[in-house]
């Protein structure tokens, strides 16, 4: 199960975390990542409105023959986790949940982290790498 990269978006759609785990995605500049995050946030909002099924969430999965992008939105609606993986991967939502759990532990319980700001927590990086890397 190859994870290519992980992005985390805050409530306003700003990018607070971006990390590549594997080659396979084109390297963008940090500005491009911010634009990507903002665009996705907008698309997500639009899709949740135009959905024919009442009460549905926004865009969840975007799959092409090169990659698969999965979006996990928290119950509070404030954080979105974007996981980019290789196509035809099962069980991405298990990974989403685990990343959410790591976020709740090492970012939210950190007194030096300000909410909605870019994530600069060493423990989060360390534990995330320890969880993702063995899966490659």
């Amino acid at each position: 199960m190859v994870i290519l990269s992980i992005l985390i978006l805050n409530k306003a759609g700003g990018l607070i975390y971006q990390r590549d785990f594997n080659e396979g995605l084109k390297k963008l500049s940090s500005n491009d990542y911010l634009v990507l995050a903002g665009t996705f946030h907008g698309v997500h909002a639009i899709t949740s409105r135009i959905s024919p099924v009442p009460g549905s969430g926004g865009l969840e999965v975007l799959e092409s023959d090169q990659f698969r992008m999965q979006c996990f939105q928290t119950l509070t609606g404030s954080i979105k986790f974007l996981i980019f993986a290789e196509p035809h991967q099962p069980n991405i939502d298990v990974i989403c949940r685990r990343v959410y759990e790591l976020y709740a532990d090492y970012v939210m319980k950190n007194p030096f982290y300000q909410i909605e700001m870019p994530i600069r927590c060493e423990s989060f990086d360390k534990h995330l790498a320890a969880y993702i890397k063995p899966k490659q």
Binding site: D105, Y106, M108, K109, N110, P111, F112, R120, C121, E122, S123, F124
Partner: protein, 235 residues
């Protein structure tokens, strides 16, 4: 953690003032002393009119606390302390004070719970064993990972913890890398030592190793009075 309203309780005694001849002095009658009403104090009463002071002390002996609850509370304590002080030394001192008030009460509780077999520790090694075993087991469910005596200084001892539970979710930013939030636990240890009449200073230092990247050493520096007493008792 600490009560924000520091009002000393009203004393039943009027401060002594010099008696001047011919002038009557007034002493308020004791009956006008306000007795604590159920509505005005911070104490909570259950419907059975019992408060926390009526519970048996051993009732919560076996209970455990979720690590997540403590981590959120501790995170708020650190942020609260950070607003009041500037500088890493002051922040560690504030955390130490927060732990100090807990340690004072914890010492009494642990000795009470030991019951008949409670022994008053007069030797340095005895009190350090109490801290490393009993106190640590009460706080974290496991004894401390090591206890060492410093070779350079006679009055320094080191208590080692490979992975302090209070620090598990905290990542200190690089500009504050000297900070170790286990200063809180150091405060608890300092209060237990002070209360057992071993005045000392306890500080927490991180010494990451490859095997234990979160390893913390509590440096316990005893006062000279402790060393003198220990020398006398040695004979």
């Amino acid at each position: 953690m600490s009560n924000l309203h520091h009002q000393p309780p009203a004393s039943p005694f009027v401060p002594f003032s010099p008696i001047q001849p011919g002038i009557p002095t007034s002493t308020p009658p004791l009956s006008s002393q306000k007795t604590p009403q159920l509505g005005t104090s911070n104490l909570r009463f259950a419907s059975s009119r019992k408060s926390i002071y009526d519970r048996h002390l051993n009732r919560t002996q076996r209970s455990e606390l979720s690590k997540a609850s403590f981590s959120f509370l501790f995170s708020e304590m650190i942020q609260y302390a950070q607003k009041q002080v500037s500088g890493i030394q002051d922040l560690e001192k504030k955390l130490n004070q927060q732990g100090y008030s807990i340690g004072q009460r914890l010492l009494e509780l642990l000795l009470h719970r030991e019951g008949r077999s409670a022994k008053r520790e007069v030797r340095v090694l005895g009190i350090l064993q109490f801290v490393a075993q009993t106190l640590y087991r009460h706080l974290f469910g496991k004894p401390a990972d090591g206890l060492e005596k410093s070779r350079e200084n006679e009055d320094e001892y080191m208590l080692i913890d490979h992975d302090p539970a209070v620090n598990s979710y905290i990542s200190v930013p690089r500009e504050m890398s000297q900070l170790n939030c286990a200063a809180f636990v150091a405060g608890i240890i300092e209060a237990v030592l002070d209360g057992s009449l071993f005045p000392s200073r306890v500080t927490a230092h991180s010494v990451p190793t490859d095997q234990f990247p979160m390893k913390t050493v509590f440096l316990i520096k005893f006062d000279e009075s402790v060393l003198e007493r220990e020398a006398i008792l040695q004979q």
